[in-house]
Protein backbone atom coordinates (compact mmCIF):
# COMPACT_ATOMS: atom_id res chain seq x y z
CA UNK A 1 0.00 0.00 0.00
CA UNK A 2 1.62 3.22 -1.16
CA UNK A 3 -0.23 6.45 -0.60
CA UNK A 4 0.63 10.00 -1.61
CA UNK A 5 1.27 12.74 0.96
CA UNK A 6 -2.21 14.16 0.39
CA UNK A 7 -3.83 10.78 0.90
CA UNK A 8 -1.79 10.13 4.05
CA UNK A 9 -2.85 13.47 5.53
CA UNK A 10 -6.50 12.92 4.62
CA UNK A 11 -6.46 9.48 6.24
CA UNK A 12 -4.71 10.98 9.28
CA UNK A 13 -7.53 13.51 9.66
CA UNK A 14 -10.23 10.84 9.51
CA UNK A 15 -8.22 8.53 11.79
CA UNK A 16 -7.85 11.37 14.28
CA UNK A 17 -11.60 12.00 14.16
CA UNK A 18 -12.39 8.33 14.80
CA UNK A 19 -9.69 8.08 17.47
CA UNK A 20 -10.89 11.30 19.09
CA UNK A 21 -14.44 10.00 19.34
CA UNK A 22 -13.23 6.69 20.79
CA UNK A 23 -11.05 8.50 23.34
CA UNK A 24 -13.62 11.07 24.45
CA UNK A 25 -17.12 9.72 23.84
CA UNK A 26 -16.01 6.07 23.99
CA UNK A 27 -14.36 6.40 27.39
CA UNK A 28 -17.43 8.10 28.84
CA UNK A 29 -19.91 5.62 27.36
CA UNK A 30 -17.82 2.62 28.45
CA UNK A 31 -17.47 4.07 31.94
CA UNK A 32 -21.22 4.59 32.46
CA UNK A 33 -21.99 1.19 30.86
CA UNK A 34 -24.71 2.53 28.56
CA UNK A 35 -26.48 -0.20 26.55
CA UNK A 36 -25.37 -0.64 22.93
CA UNK A 37 -22.24 1.45 23.51
CA UNK A 38 -20.21 -0.76 21.19
CA UNK A 39 -22.78 -0.50 18.41
CA UNK A 40 -23.05 3.29 18.68
CA UNK A 41 -19.28 3.79 18.64
CA UNK A 42 -18.84 1.35 15.75
CA UNK A 43 -21.52 3.08 13.70
CA UNK A 44 -20.04 6.55 14.32
CA UNK A 45 -16.46 5.40 13.82
CA UNK A 46 -17.15 3.55 10.59
CA UNK A 47 -19.30 6.42 9.35
CA UNK A 48 -16.23 8.65 9.65
CA UNK A 49 -13.87 6.05 8.18
CA UNK A 50 -16.13 5.54 5.18
CA UNK A 51 -16.41 9.25 4.49
CA UNK A 52 -12.62 9.06 4.49
CA UNK A 53 -12.88 6.23 1.94
CA UNK A 54 -14.74 8.61 -0.39
CA UNK A 55 -11.80 10.98 -0.25
CA UNK A 56 -9.16 8.26 -0.56
CA UNK A 57 -10.92 5.68 -2.71
CA UNK A 58 -8.08 3.18 -2.65
CA UNK A 59 -7.73 -0.35 -1.38
CA UNK A 60 -6.55 -0.38 2.22
CA UNK A 61 -7.49 3.19 3.12
CA UNK A 62 -10.29 2.21 5.52
CA UNK A 63 -8.03 -0.23 7.34
CA UNK A 64 -5.33 2.44 7.48
CA UNK A 65 -7.77 4.88 9.12
CA UNK A 66 -8.72 2.13 11.58
CA UNK A 67 -5.06 1.51 12.47
CA UNK A 68 -4.55 5.22 13.19
CA UNK A 69 -7.65 5.27 15.44
CA UNK A 70 -6.45 2.10 17.23
CA UNK A 71 -2.97 3.47 17.94
CA UNK A 72 -4.43 6.77 19.16
CA UNK A 73 -6.74 4.83 21.47
CA UNK A 74 -3.79 2.71 22.68
CA UNK A 75 -1.82 5.78 23.68
CA UNK A 76 -4.74 7.87 24.86
CA UNK A 77 -5.06 8.23 28.62
CA UNK A 78 -3.33 5.13 29.87
CA UNK A 79 -6.61 3.25 29.84
CA UNK A 80 -6.00 -0.43 29.26
CA UNK A 81 -8.95 -1.39 27.13
CA UNK A 82 -7.84 -4.18 24.87
CA UNK A 83 -11.41 -5.00 23.79
CA UNK A 84 -12.17 -1.67 22.09
CA UNK A 85 -8.76 -1.70 20.41
CA UNK A 86 -9.30 -5.15 18.93
CA UNK A 87 -12.79 -3.95 18.05
CA UNK A 88 -11.67 -0.87 16.11
CA UNK A 89 -9.03 -2.80 14.20
CA UNK A 90 -11.34 -5.68 13.31
CA UNK A 91 -14.26 -3.46 12.36
CA UNK A 92 -11.99 -1.52 10.03
CA UNK A 93 -10.73 -4.79 8.56
CA UNK A 94 -14.25 -6.17 8.04
CA UNK A 95 -15.37 -2.90 6.39
CA UNK A 96 -12.24 -2.89 4.24
CA UNK A 97 -12.80 -6.46 3.05
CA UNK A 98 -16.43 -5.73 2.15
CA UNK A 99 -15.51 -2.50 0.34
CA UNK A 100 -12.78 -4.30 -1.59
CA UNK A 101 -15.38 -6.60 -3.14
CA UNK A 102 -16.82 -3.63 -5.01
CA UNK A 103 -14.81 -2.05 -7.85
CA UNK A 104 -15.61 1.48 -6.66
CA UNK A 105 -17.36 3.04 -3.64
CA UNK A 106 -21.15 2.96 -3.87
CA UNK A 107 -23.94 3.64 -1.40
CA UNK A 108 -24.70 -0.10 -1.24
CA UNK A 109 -21.08 -0.98 -0.51
CA UNK A 110 -21.03 1.59 2.30
CA UNK A 111 -24.22 0.21 3.82
CA UNK A 112 -22.91 -3.35 3.68
CA UNK A 113 -19.51 -2.36 5.05
CA UNK A 114 -20.88 -0.60 8.13
CA UNK A 115 -23.48 -3.33 8.63
CA UNK A 116 -20.70 -5.95 8.55
CA UNK A 117 -18.56 -3.96 10.96
CA UNK A 118 -21.52 -3.47 13.30
CA UNK A 119 -22.34 -7.16 13.25
CA UNK A 120 -18.77 -7.88 14.34
CA UNK A 121 -19.52 -5.93 17.56
CA UNK A 122 -22.07 -8.62 18.40
CA UNK A 123 -19.67 -11.47 17.57
CA UNK A 124 -16.53 -10.03 19.15
CA UNK A 125 -17.25 -11.00 22.80
CA UNK A 126 -17.43 -14.65 21.75
CA UNK A 127 -14.06 -14.51 19.98
CA UNK A 128 -12.10 -12.40 22.48
CA UNK A 129 -13.84 -13.95 25.46
CA UNK A 130 -12.95 -17.44 24.32
CA UNK A 131 -9.46 -16.82 22.96
CA UNK A 132 -8.10 -14.11 25.22
CA UNK A 133 -10.05 -14.05 28.47
CA UNK A 134 -10.77 -17.77 28.53
CA UNK A 135 -14.46 -17.30 29.20
CA UNK A 136 -16.76 -20.14 28.31
CA UNK A 137 -19.38 -19.44 25.65
CA UNK A 138 -22.35 -19.92 27.98
CA UNK A 139 -21.94 -16.76 30.12
CA UNK A 140 -21.30 -14.67 27.00
CA UNK A 141 -24.42 -16.10 25.39
CA UNK A 142 -26.41 -15.45 28.59
CA UNK A 143 -25.11 -11.86 28.73
CA UNK A 144 -26.22 -11.32 25.15
CA UNK A 145 -29.67 -12.84 25.70
CA UNK A 146 -30.09 -10.83 28.89
CA UNK A 147 -29.15 -7.61 27.09
CA UNK A 148 -31.57 -8.37 24.25
CA UNK A 149 -34.29 -9.39 26.70
CA UNK A 150 -34.07 -6.03 28.50
CA UNK A 151 -33.86 -4.15 25.22
CA UNK A 152 -36.85 -5.72 23.47
CA UNK A 153 -38.89 -6.59 26.54
CA UNK A 154 -38.99 -10.27 25.58
CA UNK A 155 -38.75 -13.18 27.98
CA UNK A 156 -35.36 -14.89 28.06
CA UNK A 157 -37.08 -18.14 26.96
CA UNK A 158 -37.30 -16.69 23.44
CA UNK A 159 -33.50 -16.69 23.21
CA UNK A 160 -33.32 -17.37 19.49
CA UNK A 161 -35.82 -14.61 18.67
CA UNK A 162 -33.88 -12.22 20.87
CA UNK A 163 -30.61 -13.02 19.11
CA UNK A 164 -32.28 -12.72 15.71
CA UNK A 165 -33.71 -9.34 16.72
CA UNK A 166 -30.27 -8.23 17.93
CA UNK A 167 -28.65 -9.29 14.65
CA UNK A 168 -31.30 -7.37 12.70
CA UNK A 169 -30.89 -4.31 14.94
CA UNK A 170 -27.10 -4.29 14.48
CA UNK A 171 -27.40 -4.76 10.71
CA UNK A 172 -30.06 -2.05 10.45
CA UNK A 173 -28.10 0.49 12.50
CA UNK A 174 -25.02 -0.29 10.42
CA UNK A 175 -26.90 0.09 7.15
CA UNK A 176 -28.33 3.45 8.25
CA UNK A 177 -24.84 4.62 9.26
CA UNK A 178 -23.52 3.51 5.86
CA UNK A 179 -26.32 5.40 4.10
CA UNK A 180 -25.51 8.50 6.14
CA UNK A 181 -21.79 8.14 5.47
CA UNK A 182 -22.42 8.23 1.73
CA UNK A 183 -24.78 11.22 1.94
CA UNK A 184 -22.55 13.18 4.32
CA UNK A 185 -19.49 12.42 2.24
CA UNK A 186 -21.20 13.82 -0.84
CA UNK A 187 -22.29 16.90 1.10
CA UNK A 188 -18.77 17.51 2.38
CA UNK A 189 -17.37 17.18 -1.12
CA UNK A 190 -19.89 19.67 -2.47
CA UNK A 191 -19.01 22.10 0.29
CA UNK A 192 -15.31 21.71 -0.49
CA UNK A 193 -15.12 23.53 -3.80
CA UNK A 194 -17.98 21.58 -5.28
CA UNK A 195 -15.69 18.83 -6.52
CA UNK A 196 -16.31 15.13 -6.43
CA UNK A 197 -14.62 13.51 -3.40
CA UNK A 198 -11.96 11.80 -5.48
CA UNK A 199 -10.57 15.06 -6.81
CA UNK A 200 -10.52 17.01 -3.53
Amino acid sequence: MKFSTRELVTMAVFGALWGGIEISLGSVLHAIKLPLTGLSLTAIGLLIALIGRLFVPRRGSTFFIGVIATVLKLFSIGNILIGPMIGILTEALVAELILDIFPKPTRLSFMLAVAGGSLWTLIQPFVTGLLIFGRTLLPIWLDMVDQGSRLFGLGSQAALWIVLALVLLYLAVGAVAGWLAWSLGQMVSVRLRGHSPTTV
Binding site: M1, F3, T5, L8, A12, G19, I80, R135, M187
Partner: protein
Protein backbone atom coordinates in the same frame (compact mmCIF):
# COMPACT_ATOMS: atom_id res chain seq x y z
CA UNK B 1 32.79 27.85 18.85
CA UNK B 2 31.68 25.21 16.42
CA UNK B 3 34.38 22.85 17.62
CA UNK B 4 33.36 23.23 21.23
CA UNK B 5 29.75 22.55 20.28
CA UNK B 6 30.83 19.45 18.44
CA UNK B 7 32.84 18.31 21.42
CA UNK B 8 29.92 18.83 23.78
CA UNK B 9 27.63 16.74 21.64
CA UNK B 10 30.26 14.05 21.38
CA UNK B 11 30.78 14.05 25.13
CA UNK B 12 27.08 13.38 25.69
CA UNK B 13 27.33 10.46 23.28
CA UNK B 14 24.53 8.10 22.27
CA UNK B 15 21.97 7.16 24.93
CA UNK B 16 22.84 4.01 26.87
CA UNK B 17 21.34 0.83 25.47
CA UNK B 18 18.48 -0.28 27.74
CA UNK B 19 18.25 -3.76 29.19
CA UNK B 20 14.92 -4.35 27.48
CA UNK B 21 14.15 -2.39 24.33
CA UNK B 22 10.92 -1.89 22.40
CA UNK B 23 11.37 -5.21 20.64
CA UNK B 24 11.69 -6.89 24.02
CA UNK B 25 8.52 -5.27 25.33
CA UNK B 26 6.68 -6.40 22.22
CA UNK B 27 8.01 -9.95 22.65
CA UNK B 28 6.93 -9.95 26.29
CA UNK B 29 3.43 -8.86 25.23
CA UNK B 30 3.23 -11.61 22.60
CA UNK B 31 4.63 -14.15 25.06
CA UNK B 32 1.95 -13.18 27.60
CA UNK B 33 -0.77 -13.63 24.98
CA UNK B 34 0.65 -17.05 24.05
CA UNK B 35 0.80 -18.02 27.72
CA UNK B 36 -2.87 -17.06 28.14
CA UNK B 37 -3.93 -19.06 25.11
CA UNK B 38 -1.95 -22.01 26.45
CA UNK B 39 -3.63 -21.64 29.84
CA UNK B 40 -7.04 -21.87 28.16
CA UNK B 41 -5.95 -25.05 26.39
CA UNK B 42 -4.11 -26.76 29.24
CA UNK B 43 -5.76 -25.30 32.32
CA UNK B 44 -3.94 -24.78 35.62
CA UNK B 45 -2.85 -21.66 37.43
CA UNK B 46 0.92 -21.96 37.27
CA UNK B 47 1.42 -20.21 33.95
CA UNK B 48 -0.79 -17.15 34.62
CA UNK B 49 0.69 -16.97 38.10
CA UNK B 50 4.25 -16.85 36.74
CA UNK B 51 3.16 -14.31 34.10
CA UNK B 52 1.64 -12.02 36.74
CA UNK B 53 4.76 -12.27 38.89
CA UNK B 54 7.13 -11.49 36.00
CA UNK B 55 4.97 -8.72 34.56
CA UNK B 56 4.56 -7.11 37.99
CA UNK B 57 8.32 -7.07 38.43
CA UNK B 58 8.82 -5.64 34.94
CA UNK B 59 5.96 -3.17 35.00
CA UNK B 60 5.29 -2.11 38.62
CA UNK B 61 3.35 0.94 37.37
CA UNK B 62 0.89 -1.38 35.60
CA UNK B 63 0.39 -3.36 38.81
CA UNK B 64 -0.25 -0.15 40.77
CA UNK B 65 -2.87 0.85 38.20
CA UNK B 66 -4.65 -2.50 38.48
CA UNK B 67 -4.72 -2.18 42.26
CA UNK B 68 -6.90 0.93 41.96
CA UNK B 69 -10.49 0.47 43.23
CA UNK B 70 -12.02 0.87 39.76
CA UNK B 71 -10.05 -2.05 38.32
CA UNK B 72 -10.45 -4.17 41.43
CA UNK B 73 -14.24 -3.74 41.24
CA UNK B 74 -14.24 -4.68 37.53
CA UNK B 75 -12.08 -7.75 38.18
CA UNK B 76 -14.31 -8.66 41.12
CA UNK B 77 -17.40 -8.47 38.90
CA UNK B 78 -15.65 -10.66 36.31
CA UNK B 79 -14.75 -13.21 38.99
CA UNK B 80 -18.24 -13.33 40.52
CA UNK B 81 -20.09 -13.62 37.19
CA UNK B 82 -17.67 -16.30 36.01
CA UNK B 83 -18.16 -18.28 39.21
CA UNK B 84 -21.95 -17.96 39.03
CA UNK B 85 -22.27 -18.76 35.32
CA UNK B 86 -19.05 -20.70 34.73
CA UNK B 87 -20.86 -23.98 34.22
CA UNK B 88 -20.54 -27.32 36.00
CA UNK B 89 -22.81 -29.08 38.49
CA UNK B 90 -23.18 -27.31 41.88
CA UNK B 91 -21.28 -29.37 44.44
CA UNK B 92 -20.81 -26.88 47.27
CA UNK B 93 -22.66 -24.04 48.98
CA UNK B 94 -21.38 -20.62 50.01
CA UNK B 95 -23.77 -18.54 52.15
CA UNK B 96 -26.61 -20.61 50.79
CA UNK B 97 -25.65 -20.05 47.14
CA UNK B 98 -25.04 -23.30 45.22
CA UNK B 99 -21.69 -23.20 43.42
CA UNK B 100 -19.69 -25.63 41.39
CA UNK B 101 -15.99 -26.14 42.05
CA UNK B 102 -15.49 -26.26 38.25
CA UNK B 103 -17.11 -22.82 37.95
CA UNK B 104 -14.83 -21.44 40.64
CA UNK B 105 -11.75 -22.80 38.87
CA UNK B 106 -12.92 -21.30 35.57
CA UNK B 107 -13.62 -17.96 37.25
CA UNK B 108 -10.24 -17.74 38.95
CA UNK B 109 -8.42 -18.74 35.74
CA UNK B 110 -10.37 -16.17 33.76
CA UNK B 111 -9.62 -13.40 36.24
CA UNK B 112 -5.92 -14.29 36.28
CA UNK B 113 -5.91 -14.22 32.46
CA UNK B 114 -7.55 -10.79 32.48
CA UNK B 115 -4.91 -9.51 34.91
CA UNK B 116 -2.11 -10.84 32.67
CA UNK B 117 -3.62 -9.17 29.60
CA UNK B 118 -4.10 -5.86 31.42
CA UNK B 119 -0.54 -5.87 32.80
CA UNK B 120 1.00 -6.81 29.45
CA UNK B 121 -1.03 -4.28 27.44
CA UNK B 122 -0.38 -1.47 29.90
CA UNK B 123 3.32 -2.33 30.05
CA UNK B 124 3.60 -2.33 26.27
CA UNK B 125 1.71 0.92 25.73
CA UNK B 126 3.73 2.72 28.40
CA UNK B 127 7.13 1.35 27.40
CA UNK B 128 6.83 1.85 23.64
CA UNK B 129 6.89 5.20 21.94
CA UNK B 130 4.06 6.06 19.51
CA UNK B 131 6.60 6.49 16.66
CA UNK B 132 7.98 3.01 17.33
CA UNK B 133 4.52 1.48 17.03
CA UNK B 134 4.09 3.38 13.78
CA UNK B 135 7.49 2.09 12.63
CA UNK B 136 6.42 -1.42 13.44
CA UNK B 137 3.26 -1.11 11.34
CA UNK B 138 5.30 0.46 8.51
CA UNK B 139 7.52 -2.59 8.49
CA UNK B 140 4.38 -4.70 8.15
CA UNK B 141 3.45 -2.86 4.95
CA UNK B 142 1.55 0.24 6.06
CA UNK B 143 4.00 2.72 4.53
CA UNK B 144 3.60 6.31 5.68
CA UNK B 145 1.81 5.36 8.90
CA UNK B 146 4.42 7.12 11.03
CA UNK B 147 3.80 10.38 9.20
CA UNK B 148 0.02 9.92 9.36
CA UNK B 149 0.12 9.16 13.07
CA UNK B 150 2.19 12.27 13.70
CA UNK B 151 -0.34 14.35 11.78
CA UNK B 152 -3.27 12.66 13.57
CA UNK B 153 -1.76 13.16 17.03
CA UNK B 154 -1.13 16.84 16.27
CA UNK B 155 -4.61 17.26 14.83
CA UNK B 156 -6.42 15.88 17.87
CA UNK B 157 -6.39 19.11 19.96
CA UNK B 158 -7.36 21.18 16.91
CA UNK B 159 -10.21 18.84 16.07
CA UNK B 160 -11.44 18.94 19.65
CA UNK B 161 -11.35 22.73 19.70
CA UNK B 162 -12.98 23.04 16.29
CA UNK B 163 -15.74 20.56 17.25
CA UNK B 164 -16.42 22.39 20.52
CA UNK B 165 -16.64 25.73 18.69
CA UNK B 166 -18.98 24.32 16.05
CA UNK B 167 -21.16 22.72 18.73
CA UNK B 168 -21.45 25.92 20.76
CA UNK B 169 -22.16 28.03 17.66
CA UNK B 170 -24.89 25.66 16.58
CA UNK B 171 -26.49 25.56 20.02
CA UNK B 172 -26.38 29.32 20.48
CA UNK B 173 -28.18 29.76 17.18
CA UNK B 174 -30.83 27.27 18.21
CA UNK B 175 -29.66 24.71 15.68
CA UNK B 176 -30.33 21.74 17.94
CA UNK B 177 -33.88 22.68 18.97
CA UNK B 178 -36.47 22.43 16.22
CA UNK B 179 -34.56 20.36 13.66
CA UNK B 180 -32.02 18.56 15.82
CA UNK B 181 -31.37 15.93 13.15
CA UNK B 182 -30.55 18.58 10.57
CA UNK B 183 -28.49 20.37 13.22
CA UNK B 184 -26.51 17.23 13.93
CA UNK B 185 -25.82 16.75 10.23
CA UNK B 186 -24.66 20.35 9.93
CA UNK B 187 -22.43 19.89 12.95
CA UNK B 188 -20.75 16.84 11.39
CA UNK B 189 -20.46 18.63 8.08
CA UNK B 190 -18.78 21.62 9.70
CA UNK B 191 -16.31 19.51 11.66
CA UNK B 192 -15.38 17.40 8.61
CA UNK B 193 -15.05 20.38 6.29
CA UNK B 194 -12.88 22.28 8.75
CA UNK B 195 -10.67 19.24 9.28
CA UNK B 196 -10.23 18.66 5.54
CA UNK B 197 -9.50 22.35 4.88
CA UNK B 198 -6.84 22.25 7.56
CA UNK B 199 -5.37 19.12 6.02
CA UNK B 200 -4.66 21.16 2.87
CA UNK B 201 -2.27 23.34 4.90
CA UNK B 202 -0.55 20.27 6.32
CA UNK B 203 -0.05 18.79 2.85
CA UNK B 204 1.45 22.06 1.63
CA UNK B 205 3.74 22.25 4.66
CA UNK B 206 4.90 18.66 4.19
CA UNK B 207 5.52 19.13 0.49
CA UNK B 208 7.35 22.41 1.13
CA UNK B 209 9.73 20.45 3.34
CA UNK B 210 10.19 17.98 0.45
CA UNK B 211 8.50 15.17 2.32
CA UNK B 212 7.81 12.11 0.21
CA UNK B 213 6.24 8.99 1.68
CA UNK B 214 8.31 6.68 -0.52
CA UNK B 215 11.53 8.31 0.71
CA UNK B 216 10.64 8.26 4.41
CA UNK B 217 12.13 5.60 6.64
CA UNK B 218 10.37 3.84 9.47
CA UNK B 219 11.40 4.93 12.97
CA UNK B 220 14.00 2.47 14.29
CA UNK B 221 13.04 0.11 17.07
CA UNK B 222 15.07 0.35 20.28
CA UNK B 223 16.82 -2.95 20.81
CA UNK B 224 17.87 -3.79 24.38
CA UNK B 225 20.66 -6.04 25.62
CA UNK B 226 18.27 -8.86 26.48
CA UNK B 227 15.83 -8.53 23.56
CA UNK B 228 17.21 -11.31 21.36
CA UNK B 229 17.61 -13.59 24.38
CA UNK B 230 13.93 -13.21 25.19
CA UNK B 231 12.91 -15.13 22.06
CA UNK B 232 14.61 -18.48 22.92
CA UNK B 233 13.90 -18.09 26.63
CA UNK B 234 10.19 -17.46 25.97
CA UNK B 235 9.94 -20.32 23.49
CA UNK B 236 11.75 -22.77 25.78
CA UNK B 237 9.52 -21.74 28.68
CA UNK B 238 6.32 -22.24 26.68
CA UNK B 239 7.58 -25.56 25.27
CA UNK B 240 8.46 -26.66 28.82
CA UNK B 241 4.95 -25.85 30.02
CA UNK B 242 3.49 -27.76 27.05
CA UNK B 243 5.57 -30.84 27.84
CA UNK B 244 5.10 -30.79 31.61
CA UNK B 245 1.34 -30.06 31.78
Amino acid sequence: MTASRLHTSLMHGAPAKPLIGSLGHLLIFLWSLAAILLTQLRGGFLLPGICILLLSLLYPFALRRILRPRWLILLGILLVTSILFGGGQPDLKLWGVPLSSEGILVGVRMTLSAIVILLAADGLSTSMDITEVAGLFERLGLQGLGFSLGVAANQLPNLRQSSTNAWHSLRMRGGMRAQWWRGLQLFLLTVLTNALRRSEDIVLAAEARAFRPDRSRAAPLRIGHLDWWLIPVGLVFLAGVLVLT
